[in-house]
Symmetry: C2
Subunit: 259 residues, 2 copies
């Protein structure tokens, strides 16, 4: 028995959603995505993708499982070790965690770059503005003066001094083609995705099977915790992370969790 | 490995979606819902609900499993035996299966009644028009001159000579509160829902765990097949249907299916 399907996210502002509501995270997520669609930040398909993700999160128990926490710590270590880390932002990411991504960029010295599946100048601008309203200081992705090889979509467009040049990229909620193409460029790829068997986490060096609204603040917390760690410590965290075990633990949790 | 996340439903009309595409049903569903939002038929939250459903359908293998087929046959028998069967239509149902619901109403002699979670006169009218464009001859739900007891939402509004009076109701994609309230009124309730443990199928006399775009045409096919059956045969089909076994088979399939 569940009240999964009985709540409405029909509120004017997110402050109206009671924090002690048993479905708080789901309501908050839906509200932010809906607002994103209304602001022109999120494509209508993003609402569908978010719904799909919410079913997996529900099966996962709507919590950060231990292997996801380990992945988030490894992600923090990768970002801190990187020469040029970049955090990729699409419409759903911008709607769901704009301030959280800005904070992570700040703590790790990463660039933020807007990259869209359905790219229009209006959406790019709306997202860049939305990120700036949430304290992002420098937003890339507007130049789009380089291309990811082997990808003929609009998604191939990147900034030459952004994702194209990055050694470590965080690509949350990414489609499989783009994740594969970035992997083939030899980048260290960190993916956040709630389905452990979809292609993006499968090709990622660090697959994070967690809800983005929990994952990003937790990567930031780990990055703050590791801010003064030496390089050897960071490399050990990276080496100790077992991506295959993380994917398997997530799948096991989804299969055995409460429906 | 899956290409689940790599396809786009970004087409102008559903004829553009190739029928032999491995994700045809999912693309068709997404396209119809998106069009529903654009036409003012479907609430934005419907896009989210549809995405959630698509994850369960994916786990189910995107096919009508044997217990769902049995449920659809029992549903047909119930509708044929009823004194006053009514098919309830919300925004997602109208967007996904308008013609299919009209055909089922025709074959079983059921009424169609519009009932919305987010009720506005404009949406009610848009949905009634949309159903009429798809050959529905009589659409109820516009009077809203009766109330379902124990339900304080807009959803309590029904027609006195429609759902209020019905002995058998088909309520696809229904929220749990409303399904429970209808159950408490003593109606025979047929529910279509892709999550076997959500409240609506749990309270249903006939829970159909299947995608609505497969379920409704299949109920119609069974109703056509049973059109000349005598009452004893229909009552036997109803009595033989095991709702608990159907729910368990669906859950088992979801847990063991390909992620």
């Amino acid at each position: 028995m569940t009240d999964y399907d009985t709540v409405s996210a029909d509120v004017e502002s997110e402050e109206e959603i009671p924090e002690d509501h048993p479905r708080y995270q789901d309501l908050l997520t839906r509200h932010r995505i809906e607002e994103g669609v209304e602001k022109g930040i999120t494509h209508l398909q993003g609402m569908h993708a978010e719904g799909r993700g919410s079913a997996f999160d529900y099966l996962l128990g709507e919590e950060t499982i231990p292997s996801a926490d380990a992945a988030e710590r490894a992600a923090a270590a990768h970002l801190l070790l990187a020469d040029h880390p970049v955090l990729s932002i699409n419409g759903n990411v911008a709607a769901l965690v704009p301030g959280e991504m800005a904070a992570l960029a700040d703590v790790t010295g990463a660039d933020l770059e807007v990259n869209l599946f359905n790219r229009t100048p209006e959406r790019i601008e709306a997202i860049a503005d939305h990120l700036r309203e949430h304290d992002a200081t420098d937003v890339k992705g507007l130049e789009a003066d380089a291309r990811i090889p082997n990808l003929d979509h609009q998604r191939a467009k990147v900034d030459a001094d952004g994702i194209y040049d990055a050694d470590v990229v965080l690509v949350p909620l990414e489609d499989g083609d783009r994740a594969e193409a970035l992997d083939e460029m030899g980048k260290t790829e960190i993916v956040i995705d709630l389905n452990p068997l979809s292609r993006s986490p499968q090709v990622a060096d660090v697959p994070i099977v967690d809800n983005i609204i929990r994952a990003v603040p937790n990567i930031t917390a780990h990055a703050r915790d590791l801010a003064d760690a030496d390089e050897d410590t960071l490399r050990e965290i990276v080496a100790d992370f077992d991506r295959q075990a993380a994917l398997e633990e997530a799948e096991e949790r989804i299969r055995s969790g409460d429906l």
